[in-house]
Symmetry: C2
DNA sequence: ATGATCTTGACCTGATTAGTCGTGAATCAG
DNA sequence: CTGATTCACGACTAATCAGGTCAAGATCAT
C-alpha cells in the first residue's frame, strides 16, 4: 500500500483537470508543467486513467484530456486502486474470492485496511481540488514526493 | 508500508520465542521448522532483532535465542518498524524533523497513518502469542504470505 | 495534406526483496 | 585439548519493481 509517484502524479493530474478543465480539454504539456511531472511519464498515467474510465482524451490540435465524470463522483480510493493496484498492506488481505492463504497478524491489519479504505472513499476529487485552490491562494509551495 | 516477508517472518519468530521460550533458549533451526521460514534467511532477521534489542542470543551447544523483554512490553509497531523501517505510506509523512516536502493528499494520509500506528501499538507480543495458541488448538492451518 | 496531439510498446537504470553460502567465532562436553 | 554444536557476519545473486525515456504510429481539426 505504499503510494509511489504513479499514485501521486496521477491524482495530481486529475485534480488539475478538475481545476482547469472548465472549458475544453487540457493538454498533457500543460498538466505536466503545472504539476511538475515529466511529460513522457505523465503519458502513461493518463493512458491508465483513460482505460479506467476516469478521463476522455481527444486528439488533434486543440485536443487534450478532460474528466469523464463529475469531480464529485470520483473518490480517492478508486483512483489510487486504478493507478497502484490493490492497496492492501499484506497480500492475504487482497479480496480475490479464493482466500486460501492466511498470514500472521491478519486480524490486526484487516481493521487498519478497512478503515483506510473508508477514509479514502470519503474524499472526492472535488474535495481535493478545493483544497488545492485554497493552498494556491495562500501561496504555498508544493513539491510533490 | 507494505509488509513483506521480513516483517511477517520476524514477528512470527518473536511469537515463537514467546510461546516456546519458557525454559532456556530456542534454536534457530527449531523456529525455522515450526514457522516455515528458511533458516538461512531467519538468521538475518534474528540478527536485526538482536541489534534492535528484542532478543538475546547465546552460542554453543544448548545455545539459542530468547526474548530480551517480557512479551507484554513489546508491541507490534516497534517490531515492524525495526524490521521494515518506517511504515509511512508516503515519504512526506516520515518524521524526520526537517519536514521540507509536502505531498498532495497529505492531510488524508496523515490521519490514516496515525490511526494505523495507534492500532499497531495497542497489540503486544503477548496478545499475538495468545491468539496463536488459540489458533493452533483449533487445528487451523497457517501458511504465511 | 499537415501538424499537433494522443497511443503503444519496447527499452533502460538503479533499488529493493528475498534469499543462499561460506567462513569464522563462541561455548560446552568429554 | 578436541570436536561438536550453535550463533555471527559479510559477500553474493536472481528476480522483481519503480521510475522513467524513446521512437514509431494512429487520429483528427483545419
Amino acid at each position: 500500500m505504499r503510494i509511489g509517484t504513479k499514485g501521486d502524479y496521477g491524482v495530481r493530474a486529475l485534480i488539475d483537470l478538475a481545476m482547469y478543465g472548465g472549458d475544453g480539454p487540457v493538454q498533457r504539456a500543460e498538466i505536466a508543467r503545472r504539476q511538475h511531472v515529466p511529460e513522457a511519464y505523465l503519458d502513461h498515467l493518463l493512458a491508465q486513467l483513460r482505460r479506467a474510465g476516469f478521463i476522455r482524451s481527444m486528439r488533434g490540435p486543440s485536443g487534450g484530456h478532460e474528466l469523464a465524470r463529475p469531480a464529485e463522483e470520483v473518490n480517492l480510493l478508486q483512483v489510487l486502486e486504478a493507478l497502484e493496484g490493490s492497496l492492501a498492506p499484506l497480500p492475504c488481505l487482497e479480496d480475490h474470492e479464493g482466500e486460501g492463504t492466511v498470514c500472521a497478524q491478519q486480524w490486526v491489519w484487516r481493521e487498519i485496511y478497512d478503515d483506510m479504505r473508508e477514509r479514502l472513499q470519503a474524499v472526492t476529487l472535488h474535495d481535493l481540488a478545493e483544497r488545492e485552490r485554497d493552498r494556491l491562494q495562500r501561496g504555498a509551495v508544493s513539491y510533490s514526493i
